[in-house]
Symmetry: C2
Subunit: 214 residues, 2 copies
Amino acid sequence: MEYLVESFDHDLSNRIVRSGTTRSYGFDQTIFSEGDKATFLPIVLSGTVKMVKFPEPGKEVILGLFQAGQAFAVPPAMDGKRFPATAITTEESEVLFVPRDSFLELMETSAEFSAVITSRMCGILRHQVETIQILATPSAEQRIATALLRLAKERRGEFPIEIAYRRKDIADMTGLSLETTIRAVRRLAKKDCLTIASGRIILESTTPLKKLVG
Amino acid sequence: MEYLVESFDHDLSNRIVRSGTTRSYGFDQTIFSEGDKATFLPIVLSGTVKMVKFPEPGKEVILGLFQAGQAFAVPPAMDGKRFPATAITTEESEVLFVPRDSFLELMETSAEFSAVITSRMCGILRHQVETIQILATPSAEQRIATALLRLAKERRGEFPIEIAYRRKDIADMTGLSLETTIRAVRRLAKKDCLTIASGRIILESTTPLKKLVG
DNA sequence: CTCCTAAGATGATCCAGATCATATGTCAGC
DNA sequence: GCTGACATATGATCTGGATCATCTTAGGAG
Protein backbone atom coordinates (compact mmCIF):
# COMPACT_ATOMS: atom_id res chain seq x y z
CA MET A 1 0.00 0.00 0.00
CA GLU A 2 1.30 3.39 -0.91
CA TYR A 3 0.24 6.55 0.90
CA LEU A 4 0.27 10.16 -0.14
CA VAL A 5 1.43 12.61 2.50
CA GLU A 6 -0.04 16.10 2.10
CA SER A 7 0.23 16.66 -1.66
CA PHE A 8 3.83 15.61 -2.01
CA ASP A 9 5.07 13.54 -4.95
CA HIS A 10 5.59 9.82 -4.43
CA ASP A 11 9.32 10.13 -3.77
CA LEU A 12 8.94 12.59 -0.93
CA SER A 13 5.87 10.80 0.42
CA ASN A 14 7.73 7.51 0.48
CA ARG A 15 10.74 9.10 2.10
CA ILE A 16 8.50 10.46 4.85
CA VAL A 17 6.60 7.22 5.35
CA ARG A 18 9.82 5.23 5.55
CA SER A 19 11.26 7.62 8.13
CA GLY A 20 8.60 6.71 10.69
CA THR A 21 6.47 3.86 11.98
CA THR A 22 2.80 3.22 11.25
CA ARG A 23 0.09 2.10 13.65
CA SER A 24 -3.51 1.07 13.05
CA TYR A 25 -6.43 2.16 15.22
CA GLY A 26 -10.08 1.27 15.53
CA PHE A 27 -12.92 3.74 16.02
CA ASP A 28 -12.71 6.22 18.91
CA GLN A 29 -9.23 5.25 20.08
CA THR A 30 -6.77 7.63 21.69
CA ILE A 31 -3.56 8.26 19.71
CA PHE A 32 -1.95 10.48 22.32
CA SER A 33 -3.18 12.47 25.29
CA GLU A 34 -2.89 16.05 26.40
CA GLY A 35 0.31 16.39 28.39
CA ASP A 36 2.25 13.67 26.56
CA LYS A 37 5.71 14.67 25.36
CA ALA A 38 5.75 15.40 21.62
CA THR A 39 8.58 13.14 20.46
CA PHE A 40 7.17 12.66 16.97
CA LEU A 41 5.15 14.27 14.19
CA PRO A 42 1.88 12.37 13.63
CA ILE A 43 0.44 12.11 10.13
CA VAL A 44 -2.92 10.57 9.22
CA LEU A 45 -2.37 7.93 6.51
CA SER A 46 -5.98 6.75 6.34
CA GLY A 47 -9.18 7.49 8.23
CA THR A 48 -9.84 10.62 10.30
CA VAL A 49 -8.47 12.02 13.53
CA LYS A 50 -9.84 14.71 15.82
CA MET A 51 -7.93 16.87 18.29
CA VAL A 52 -10.01 17.52 21.39
CA LYS A 53 -9.97 19.28 24.74
CA PHE A 54 -12.01 18.24 27.78
CA PRO A 55 -12.87 21.47 29.62
CA GLU A 56 -14.74 19.41 32.21
CA PRO A 57 -15.69 15.75 32.61
CA GLY A 58 -18.16 14.74 29.91
CA LYS A 59 -17.71 17.89 27.86
CA GLU A 60 -15.61 17.81 24.72
CA VAL A 61 -14.45 20.56 22.36
CA ILE A 62 -13.14 19.74 18.91
CA LEU A 63 -10.06 21.76 18.01
CA GLY A 64 -9.55 20.26 14.59
CA LEU A 65 -10.32 17.36 12.26
CA PHE A 66 -7.63 15.80 10.10
CA GLN A 67 -8.02 13.64 7.00
CA ALA A 68 -5.73 11.17 5.25
CA GLY A 69 -2.45 12.75 4.22
CA GLN A 70 -2.55 15.50 6.80
CA ALA A 71 0.05 16.11 9.49
CA PHE A 72 -1.39 17.29 12.80
CA ALA A 73 -0.07 18.58 16.13
CA VAL A 74 2.67 20.28 14.12
CA PRO A 75 3.59 22.97 16.69
CA PRO A 76 4.22 20.52 19.57
CA ALA A 77 6.35 18.35 17.27
CA MET A 78 8.22 21.46 16.25
CA ASP A 79 9.22 22.70 19.68
CA GLY A 80 9.22 19.25 21.33
CA LYS A 81 7.10 20.32 24.29
CA ARG A 82 3.87 18.67 25.41
CA PHE A 83 0.69 18.16 23.40
CA PRO A 84 -1.89 20.74 24.50
CA ALA A 85 -4.78 18.46 23.53
CA THR A 86 -5.76 14.84 22.92
CA ALA A 87 -5.92 13.08 19.54
CA ILE A 88 -8.67 10.50 18.94
CA THR A 89 -9.71 8.55 15.84
CA THR A 90 -13.25 9.07 14.56
CA GLU A 91 -13.10 5.95 12.39
CA GLU A 92 -10.69 3.10 11.61
CA SER A 93 -7.43 4.86 10.85
CA GLU A 94 -3.72 4.45 10.27
CA VAL A 95 -1.30 6.98 11.72
CA LEU A 96 2.33 7.51 10.81
CA PHE A 97 4.69 8.62 13.57
CA VAL A 98 7.75 10.48 12.28
CA PRO A 99 10.40 10.79 15.01
CA ARG A 100 11.16 14.40 15.89
CA ASP A 101 14.76 14.11 14.70
CA SER A 102 13.68 12.93 11.25
CA PHE A 103 10.99 15.59 11.20
CA LEU A 104 13.47 18.38 11.93
CA GLU A 105 15.89 16.93 9.38
CA LEU A 106 13.11 16.90 6.78
CA MET A 107 12.38 20.54 7.61
CA GLU A 108 16.01 21.43 6.90
CA THR A 109 16.63 19.30 3.85
CA SER A 110 13.38 19.71 1.95
CA ALA A 111 12.18 23.20 1.12
CA GLU A 112 8.95 21.71 -0.20
CA PHE A 113 8.28 19.88 3.05
CA SER A 114 9.16 22.86 5.18
CA ALA A 115 6.93 25.16 3.12
CA VAL A 116 3.92 22.86 3.43
CA ILE A 117 4.42 22.31 7.14
CA THR A 118 4.78 26.02 7.77
CA SER A 119 1.66 26.78 5.80
CA ARG A 120 -0.16 24.06 7.73
CA MET A 121 0.86 25.71 11.00
CA CYS A 122 -0.50 29.03 9.79
CA GLY A 123 -3.71 27.31 8.76
CA ILE A 124 -4.12 25.70 12.15
CA LEU A 125 -3.70 29.06 13.83
CA ARG A 126 -6.34 30.63 11.61
CA HIS A 127 -8.64 27.76 12.45
CA GLN A 128 -8.06 28.26 16.19
CA VAL A 129 -8.87 31.97 15.96
CA GLU A 130 -12.13 31.07 14.23
CA THR A 131 -12.89 28.58 16.99
CA ILE A 132 -12.27 31.29 19.58
CA GLN A 133 -14.63 33.55 17.66
CA ILE A 134 -17.31 30.83 17.69
CA LEU A 135 -16.95 30.08 21.39
CA ALA A 136 -17.05 33.76 22.29
CA THR A 137 -20.30 34.37 20.40
CA PRO A 138 -23.27 34.26 22.82
CA SER A 139 -26.03 33.28 20.40
CA ALA A 140 -26.34 29.56 19.64
CA GLU A 141 -27.67 30.22 16.14
CA GLN A 142 -24.74 32.44 15.25
CA ARG A 143 -22.23 29.97 16.64
CA ILE A 144 -23.65 27.22 14.50
CA ALA A 145 -23.94 29.46 11.46
CA THR A 146 -20.24 30.34 11.73
CA ALA A 147 -19.28 26.70 12.23
CA LEU A 148 -21.33 25.59 9.21
CA LEU A 149 -19.85 28.34 7.05
CA ARG A 150 -16.40 27.15 8.01
CA LEU A 151 -17.24 23.55 7.15
CA ALA A 152 -18.67 24.67 3.83
CA LYS A 153 -15.57 26.72 3.08
CA GLU A 154 -13.19 23.89 3.96
CA ARG A 155 -14.59 21.40 1.48
CA ARG A 156 -15.31 24.10 -1.12
CA GLY A 157 -17.53 21.85 -3.26
CA GLU A 158 -20.49 22.73 -5.43
CA PHE A 159 -23.89 23.54 -3.98
CA PRO A 160 -25.87 21.94 -2.51
CA ILE A 161 -23.34 21.11 0.21
CA GLU A 162 -24.19 18.29 2.56
CA ILE A 163 -22.69 18.63 6.03
CA ALA A 164 -21.13 15.28 6.85
CA TYR A 165 -21.40 15.62 10.62
CA ARG A 166 -23.88 14.63 13.28
CA ARG A 167 -25.50 17.17 15.59
CA LYS A 168 -23.29 15.90 18.37
CA ASP A 169 -20.17 16.76 16.35
CA ILE A 170 -21.46 20.24 15.64
CA ALA A 171 -22.28 20.61 19.33
CA ASP A 172 -18.67 19.73 20.18
CA MET A 173 -17.36 22.19 17.60
CA THR A 174 -19.45 25.03 18.98
CA GLY A 175 -19.36 24.28 22.70
CA LEU A 176 -23.15 23.92 22.87
CA SER A 177 -25.23 21.07 24.26
CA LEU A 178 -26.68 18.51 21.88
CA GLU A 179 -30.26 19.65 22.47
CA THR A 180 -29.47 23.32 21.97
CA THR A 181 -27.65 22.44 18.76
CA ILE A 182 -30.59 20.42 17.44
CA ARG A 183 -33.03 23.21 18.27
CA ALA A 184 -30.84 25.95 16.80
CA VAL A 185 -30.35 23.97 13.57
CA ARG A 186 -34.14 23.59 13.31
CA ARG A 187 -34.57 27.31 13.83
CA LEU A 188 -32.02 27.99 11.10
CA ALA A 189 -33.99 25.67 8.82
CA LYS A 190 -37.21 27.52 9.65
CA LYS A 191 -35.42 30.76 8.71
CA ASP A 192 -34.45 29.18 5.36
CA CYS A 193 -30.74 29.33 6.14
CA LEU A 194 -30.45 25.59 5.48
CA THR A 195 -32.53 22.51 4.74
CA ILE A 196 -32.80 19.24 6.61
CA ALA A 197 -33.21 16.04 4.59
CA SER A 198 -33.78 12.98 6.79
CA GLY A 199 -31.61 14.45 9.51
CA ARG A 200 -28.76 15.62 7.30
CA ILE A 201 -27.99 19.31 7.05
CA ILE A 202 -27.84 20.67 3.52
CA LEU A 203 -26.73 24.13 2.44
CA GLU A 204 -28.27 25.38 -0.79
CA SER A 205 -26.31 28.59 -0.44
CA THR A 206 -24.18 30.30 2.18
CA THR A 207 -25.72 33.74 1.66
CA PRO A 208 -28.43 33.57 4.35
CA LEU A 209 -25.96 32.20 6.90
CA LYS A 210 -23.48 34.94 6.10
CA LYS A 211 -26.22 37.52 6.50
CA LEU A 212 -27.00 36.06 9.90
CA VAL A 213 -23.47 36.31 11.26
CA GLY A 214 -23.12 39.80 9.90
CA MET B 1 17.03 55.39 20.81
CA GLU B 2 17.97 51.77 20.49
CA TYR B 3 15.47 48.96 20.72
CA LEU B 4 15.86 45.31 21.54
CA VAL B 5 13.85 42.94 19.40
CA GLU B 6 12.95 39.66 21.15
CA SER B 7 16.20 38.78 22.92
CA PHE B 8 18.48 39.28 19.93
CA ASP B 9 21.90 40.90 20.23
CA HIS B 10 22.25 44.54 19.21
CA ASP B 11 23.53 43.75 15.72
CA LEU B 12 20.57 41.60 14.78
CA SER B 13 18.12 43.92 16.55
CA ASN B 14 19.50 46.90 14.67
CA ARG B 15 19.40 45.02 11.40
CA ILE B 16 15.73 44.23 12.00
CA VAL B 17 14.80 47.74 13.09
CA ARG B 18 16.55 49.26 10.08
CA SER B 19 14.75 46.89 7.72
CA GLY B 20 11.36 48.38 8.58
CA THR B 21 9.58 51.59 9.46
CA THR B 22 8.43 52.69 12.92
CA ARG B 23 5.16 54.37 13.89
CA SER B 24 4.01 55.86 17.19
CA TYR B 25 0.54 55.38 18.62
CA GLY B 26 -1.44 56.80 21.51
CA PHE B 27 -3.64 54.80 23.85
CA ASP B 28 -6.35 52.57 22.37
CA GLN B 29 -5.45 53.11 18.75
CA THR B 30 -5.91 50.53 16.00
CA ILE B 31 -2.70 49.31 14.34
CA PHE B 32 -4.42 47.09 11.80
CA SER B 33 -7.87 45.55 11.47
CA GLU B 34 -9.17 42.06 10.93
CA GLY B 35 -9.30 41.42 7.21
CA ASP B 36 -6.35 43.69 6.30
CA LYS B 37 -3.73 42.11 4.05
CA ALA B 38 -0.63 41.08 6.02
CA THR B 39 2.10 42.80 4.03
CA PHE B 40 4.43 43.20 7.01
CA LEU B 41 5.54 41.68 10.30
CA PRO B 42 4.63 43.98 13.21
CA ILE B 43 6.93 44.17 16.24
CA VAL B 44 6.21 46.09 19.45
CA LEU B 45 9.17 48.40 20.16
CA SER B 46 7.67 50.08 23.22
CA GLY B 47 4.33 49.94 25.02
CA THR B 48 1.80 47.12 24.78
CA VAL B 49 -0.45 45.81 22.04
CA LYS B 50 -3.47 43.52 22.23
CA MET B 51 -4.92 41.33 19.51
CA VAL B 52 -8.70 41.23 19.71
CA LYS B 53 -11.79 39.76 18.08
CA PHE B 54 -15.26 41.31 18.17
CA PRO B 55 -17.73 38.41 18.21
CA GLU B 56 -20.59 40.92 18.31
CA PRO B 57 -20.89 44.69 18.61
CA GLY B 58 -19.67 45.82 22.02
CA LYS B 59 -18.17 42.48 22.96
CA GLU B 60 -14.41 42.01 22.78
CA VAL B 61 -12.21 38.93 23.25
CA ILE B 62 -8.50 39.29 23.86
CA LEU B 63 -6.46 36.77 21.85
CA GLY B 64 -3.08 37.92 23.08
CA LEU B 65 -1.08 40.71 24.72
CA PHE B 66 2.34 41.68 23.42
CA GLN B 67 5.10 43.61 25.19
CA ALA B 68 8.11 45.60 23.95
CA GLY B 69 10.42 43.47 21.83
CA GLN B 70 7.77 40.99 20.78
CA ALA B 71 6.72 40.21 17.23
CA PHE B 72 3.00 39.53 16.83
CA ALA B 73 0.65 38.33 14.08
CA VAL B 74 3.49 36.10 12.92
CA PRO B 75 1.38 33.53 11.03
CA PRO B 76 -0.39 36.08 8.80
CA ALA B 77 2.96 37.74 8.01
CA MET B 78 4.33 34.31 7.20
CA ASP B 79 1.74 33.23 4.67
CA GLY B 80 0.83 36.73 3.54
CA LYS B 81 -2.92 36.24 3.89
CA ARG B 82 -5.26 38.44 5.92
CA PHE B 83 -5.09 39.23 9.63
CA PRO B 84 -7.72 37.14 11.44
CA ALA B 85 -8.02 39.73 14.23
CA THR B 86 -7.49 43.39 15.08
CA ALA B 87 -4.42 44.88 16.83
CA ILE B 88 -4.95 47.77 19.28
CA THR B 89 -2.55 49.58 21.61
CA THR B 90 -3.32 49.45 25.34
CA GLU B 91 -0.96 52.37 26.08
CA GLU B 92 1.32 54.76 24.19
CA SER B 93 3.35 52.50 21.95
CA GLU B 94 5.79 52.33 19.07
CA VAL B 95 5.43 49.62 16.47
CA LEU B 96 7.96 48.49 13.89
CA PHE B 97 6.65 47.28 10.55
CA VAL B 98 9.03 44.91 8.77
CA PRO B 99 8.00 44.43 5.12
CA ARG B 100 7.12 40.84 4.33
CA ASP B 101 10.00 40.52 1.85
CA SER B 102 12.55 41.55 4.46
CA PHE B 103 10.87 39.30 6.99
CA LEU B 104 11.11 36.26 4.74
CA GLU B 105 14.70 37.14 3.89
CA LEU B 106 15.52 37.37 7.60
CA MET B 107 13.92 33.94 8.09
CA GLU B 108 16.22 32.49 5.43
CA THR B 109 19.46 34.26 6.31
CA SER B 110 19.36 34.17 10.10
CA ALA B 111 18.97 30.82 11.82
CA GLU B 112 18.67 32.65 15.14
CA PHE B 113 15.83 34.82 13.88
CA SER B 114 14.03 31.92 12.26
CA ALA B 115 14.32 29.80 15.40
CA VAL B 116 12.87 32.51 17.63
CA ILE B 117 10.04 33.29 15.23
CA THR B 118 9.15 29.63 14.88
CA SER B 119 9.14 29.16 18.63
CA ARG B 120 6.97 32.26 18.97
CA MET B 121 4.46 30.76 16.52
CA CYS B 122 4.34 27.59 18.56
CA GLY B 123 3.85 29.65 21.70
CA ILE B 124 0.97 31.57 20.16
CA LEU B 125 -0.72 28.33 19.18
CA ARG B 126 -0.41 26.97 22.71
CA HIS B 127 -1.87 30.20 24.00
CA GLN B 128 -4.83 29.92 21.61
CA VAL B 129 -5.57 26.37 22.72
CA GLU B 130 -5.62 27.58 26.33
CA THR B 131 -7.99 30.37 25.33
CA ILE B 132 -10.27 27.82 23.69
CA GLN B 133 -10.15 25.77 26.86
CA ILE B 134 -11.13 28.83 28.92
CA LEU B 135 -14.00 29.83 26.63
CA ALA B 136 -15.35 26.27 26.55
CA THR B 137 -15.47 26.00 30.34
CA PRO B 138 -19.01 26.73 31.59
CA SER B 139 -18.21 27.89 35.13
CA ALA B 140 -17.16 31.53 35.51
CA GLU B 141 -14.94 30.80 38.51
CA GLN B 142 -13.04 28.10 36.65
CA ARG B 143 -12.61 30.30 33.59
CA ILE B 144 -11.09 33.04 35.69
CA ALA B 145 -8.98 30.61 37.69
CA THR B 146 -7.48 29.24 34.47
CA ALA B 147 -6.88 32.72 33.11
CA LEU B 148 -5.19 33.85 36.33
CA LEU B 149 -3.00 30.75 36.40
CA ARG B 150 -1.90 31.51 32.86
CA LEU B 151 -1.07 35.12 33.73
CA ALA B 152 0.88 33.94 36.77
CA LYS B 153 2.79 31.41 34.67
CA GLU B 154 3.62 33.94 31.96
CA ARG B 155 5.39 36.39 34.24
CA ARG B 156 6.86 33.60 36.39
CA GLY B 157 7.90 35.98 39.22
CA GLU B 158 8.13 35.34 42.93
CA PHE B 159 5.07 35.16 45.15
CA PRO B 160 3.06 37.13 45.97
CA ILE B 161 2.12 37.81 42.34
CA GLU B 162 0.09 40.92 41.62
CA ILE B 163 -2.16 40.64 38.58
CA ALA B 164 -1.59 43.80 36.56
CA TYR B 165 -4.98 43.83 34.87
CA ARG B 166 -8.34 45.39 35.52
CA ARG B 167 -11.49 43.32 35.92
CA LYS B 168 -12.58 44.48 32.47
CA ASP B 169 -9.41 43.01 30.94
CA ILE B 170 -9.96 39.70 32.68
CA ALA B 171 -13.57 39.77 31.51
CA ASP B 172 -12.35 40.20 27.92
CA MET B 173 -9.85 37.36 28.32
CA THR B 174 -12.49 34.97 29.63
CA GLY B 175 -15.49 36.01 27.56
CA LEU B 176 -17.49 36.93 30.67
CA SER B 177 -19.32 40.14 31.49
CA LEU B 178 -17.64 42.69 33.77
CA GLU B 179 -20.12 42.11 36.60
CA THR B 180 -19.83 38.34 36.48
CA THR B 181 -16.05 38.68 36.52
CA ILE B 182 -16.11 40.97 39.57
CA ARG B 183 -18.46 38.63 41.42
CA ALA B 184 -16.49 35.50 40.53
CA VAL B 185 -13.21 37.11 41.63
CA ARG B 186 -14.83 38.00 44.96
CA ARG B 187 -16.03 34.43 45.37
CA LEU B 188 -12.52 33.16 44.65
CA ALA B 189 -11.23 35.55 47.33
CA LYS B 190 -13.82 34.24 49.79
CA LYS B 191 -12.59 30.72 49.01
CA ASP B 192 -9.02 31.85 49.78
CA CYS B 193 -7.85 31.25 46.23
CA LEU B 194 -6.59 34.84 46.03
CA THR B 195 -6.56 38.11 47.96
CA ILE B 196 -7.82 41.53 46.94
CA ALA B 197 -5.84 44.57 48.10
CA SER B 198 -7.57 47.86 47.23
CA GLY B 199 -9.01 46.35 44.09
CA ARG B 200 -5.85 44.60 42.92
CA ILE B 201 -5.79 40.81 42.64
CA ILE B 202 -2.89 39.16 44.45
CA LEU B 203 -1.92 35.50 44.31
CA GLU B 204 -0.11 34.21 47.40
CA SER B 205 0.09 30.80 45.79
CA THR B 206 -1.29 29.03 42.75
CA THR B 207 -2.13 25.82 44.61
CA PRO B 208 -5.78 26.60 45.51
CA LEU B 209 -6.50 27.81 41.98
CA LYS B 210 -4.96 24.69 40.50
CA LYS B 211 -7.06 22.56 42.83
CA LEU B 212 -10.15 24.40 41.62
CA VAL B 213 -9.56 23.77 37.92
CA GLY B 214 -8.69 20.15 38.62
C1' DC C 1 -8.46 68.51 51.83
C1' DT C 2 -11.76 68.34 48.13
C1' DC C 3 -13.24 67.28 43.76
C1' DC C 4 -13.45 64.27 40.00
C1' DT C 5 -13.09 60.20 37.36
C1' DA C 6 -12.41 55.44 36.68
C1' DA C 7 -12.73 51.10 38.76
C1' DG C 8 -14.85 48.04 41.75
C1' DA C 9 -19.02 46.32 44.23
C1' DT C 10 -23.77 44.82 44.72
C1' DG C 11 -28.77 44.27 44.16
C1' DA C 12 -32.83 43.00 41.07
C1' DT C 13 -34.52 41.04 37.09
C1' DC C 14 -34.50 38.41 32.94
C1' DC C 15 -33.52 34.90 29.70
C1' DA C 16 -30.92 31.61 26.77
C1' DG C 17 -28.96 27.55 27.18
C1' DA C 18 -28.23 23.26 30.21
C1' DT C 19 -30.34 19.36 31.85
C1' DC C 20 -33.59 15.55 32.31
C1' DA C 21 -37.13 12.91 30.28
C1' DT C 22 -39.35 10.91 26.54
C1' DA C 23 -40.77 10.34 21.90
C1' DT C 24 -40.03 9.89 16.97
C1' DG C 25 -37.33 9.02 12.95
C1' DT C 26 -33.65 6.55 10.17
C1' DC C 27 -31.37 2.87 8.45
C1' DA C 28 -28.67 -1.46 8.54
C1' DG C 29 -29.01 -6.34 9.23
C1' DC C 30 -31.69 -10.27 9.66
C1' DG D 1 -41.10 -5.99 6.67
C1' DC D 2 -39.42 -6.40 11.47
C1' DT D 3 -36.07 -5.29 14.96
C1' DG D 4 -32.49 -2.95 17.35
C1' DA D 5 -29.38 0.83 17.87
C1' DC D 6 -28.46 5.28 17.22
C1' DA D 7 -29.70 9.97 15.84
C1' DT D 8 -32.90 13.46 15.85
C1' DA D 9 -36.73 15.82 17.96
C1' DT D 10 -39.37 18.14 21.57
C1' DG D 11 -41.37 19.26 26.08
C1' DA D 12 -40.65 20.90 31.02
C1' DT D 13 -37.85 22.78 34.33
C1' DC D 14 -33.87 24.92 36.32
C1' DT D 15 -30.03 28.03 36.74
C1' DG D 16 -25.97 30.78 36.03
C1' DG D 17 -24.60 34.51 33.65
C1' DA D 18 -26.17 38.93 31.16
C1' DT D 19 -28.08 43.20 31.78
C1' DC D 20 -29.50 47.48 33.98
C1' DA D 21 -29.21 50.43 37.84
C1' DT D 22 -27.05 52.29 41.73
C1' DC D 23 -23.51 52.86 45.08
C1' DT D 24 -18.81 52.82 47.05
C1' DT D 25 -13.95 53.09 46.82
C1' DA D 26 -9.34 54.47 45.21
C1' DG D 27 -6.26 57.70 43.77
C1' DG D 28 -4.71 61.61 40.99
C1' DA D 29 -5.09 66.82 40.05
C1' DG D 30 -5.69 71.09 41.79
